[in-house]
Amino acid sequence: MERDDIIEYSLDAHHSEEAGAQARKTIWKVTGLLTLITIIEVALGAIIKQGSPSWPIVKVSFILLTLVKAGYIVMSFMHLGQERKSLKYVLLVPYAIFILYLIFILLTEGSAVGAALESYGV
């Protein structure tokens, strides 16, 4: 049996100094972006409290910003963006299907149970 980890599949297992410098620049740019997004989230949370009328907008924006952060971490830091399309799809599509279904069922069943508890008591 040939050892799999000695064979190099990925053609970007090695890169030169210049390519390295480019890669590092991208890394720092993404870091700055993630930090900025986190600062915005914390500032929003600190300024607009839960009682206020604009809270639902803030809540939705938290979730959207988190998805953006997650996207950058997966695509850039985990290098999934540089992998083959087939690998990207094999990983992301089943996950997206499962999670979207889970969220749908959470909202549906959660509100149904909530309504039932309101009408019939705990």
Partner: protein, 341 residues
């Protein structure tokens, strides 16, 4: 980028055997598959958290009110510590990417440097999470009070300091007239939990009775979090009324009228499920961070030994990096859904 070249292989060669169809080694592919399954586990946990929160009738705690302390600096810093923890974990993810990049250039010193930074960041996160747990379990000075009508309220305000206990009736250890000045808060809270305070007289561990000398509380405000016979969720009680109702519970002689901190059964912040989800989700995540730190350390030893340099590539660092990024990714979601929203 060199990665683009691997996309130009024609499909017949790609799927014809003897090469990986995904241009990825077995180890890396399996790590990705594991991460997808673990992500589904965490996804399931967060969804069940959402479901519970959706159908709990009582008020759910507000993140910035519950988590507002800094180590050594006390309270008044809403969500600052958890934001710092998030920042440190993201930075440790960045140092990990830099370690992988250094590995791509076979720069052993660079890999070592960045991996050490990653380990330190991870260790800081685990330590911080441990502090958060201990602070959560310990609770606040006022605790959560069950009012006479059965409703439950959290308390805001400044707790007047306990000055001393003056023994009025001797017990096994203390004599009449003894002034106790040590460990007051601990004994006070214990006595309240057991219902051992009546008319401002506390029954101490050794059976003696003592008068409580305590400074006045300031700006006391009760916020109802659970419906009772008279008070409903969201109601606020201030001033003299608040003090009267709170101390009615303190002096009632009934056990468990006031809950401090958190344990596996109840917590002072909100419904039972709040504490349970807090411990489970952050604990499960913290366990992943901890194991990640251990893995990083083991791989660091391999880097120092020169194993990967001899092998010709630093893919092991990349695989460990994938796990570490996953841990960071999960935290980003836990932070949003547990602390922010």
């Amino acid at each position: 980028m060199a990665g683009q070249a691997s996309k130009q292989i024609d499909t017949k060669t790609l799927w014809g055997g003897k090469v990986s169809p995904f241009s990825s080694s077995y180890g890396k592919l399996m790590m990705w598959f594991f991460l997808v399954s673990d992500a589904l586990t965490f996804g399931g946990l967060l969804v069940s958290y959402g479901f519970t929160r959706f159908n709990v009738q009582d008020a759910w705690p507000i993140g910035e009110e519950t988590f507002n302390s800094l180590p050594f600096l006390g309270h008044g810093y809403p969500l600052i510590y958890v934001a710092l923890m998030t920042f440190i974990l993201i930075v440790s993810s960045v140092t990990m990417v830099l370690a992988v990049e250094a590995g791509h250039r076979m720069d052993r010193k660079g890999v070592t440097k960045w991996m050490i930074a990653t380990i330190i960041g991870g260790a800081f996160f685990v330590g911080s999470q441990a502090w958060e747990w201990s602070h959560f379990i310990h609770g606040s000075e006022f605790g959560k009070v069950e009012l006479a009508d059965g409703s439950q309220a959290i308390v805001k305000g400044h707790f007047g300091e306990l000055e001393s206990f003056t023994v009025t009736q001797a017990g096994n250890h203390h004599k009449v007239g003894d002034e106790i000045t040590e460990d007051l808060m601990h004994q006070y809270q214990h006595a309240i939990e057991k219902g051992h305070i009546e008319n401002n007289i506390i029954q101490l561990h050794d059976g003696s009775l003592a008068k409580i000398n305590k400074a006045k509380d300031e700006h006391m405000e009760l916020i109802v979090k659970k419906d009772g016979g008279e008070f409903k969720v969201g109601q606020k009680i201030e001033g003299k009324n608040a003090e009267e109702m709170y101390y009615e519970a303190v002096n009632s002689g009934e056990a468990n009228r006031i809950v401090y901190g958190a344990n596996l059964n109840q917590n002072e912040y909100g419904p039972q499920q709040y504490g349970q989800f807090f411990f489970f989700i952050t604990g499960f995540h913290g366990f992943h961070v901890f194991s990640g730190v251990i893995f990083n350390f083991i791989i660091l030893l391999g880097v120092l030994k020169g194993t990967y340099h001899k092998r010709g590539h630093y893919e092991m660092v990349e695989k460990t990096g994938l796990y570490w990024h996953f841990v960071d990714l999960v935290w980003v979601f836990v932070f949003t859904f547990f602390y922010l929203v």
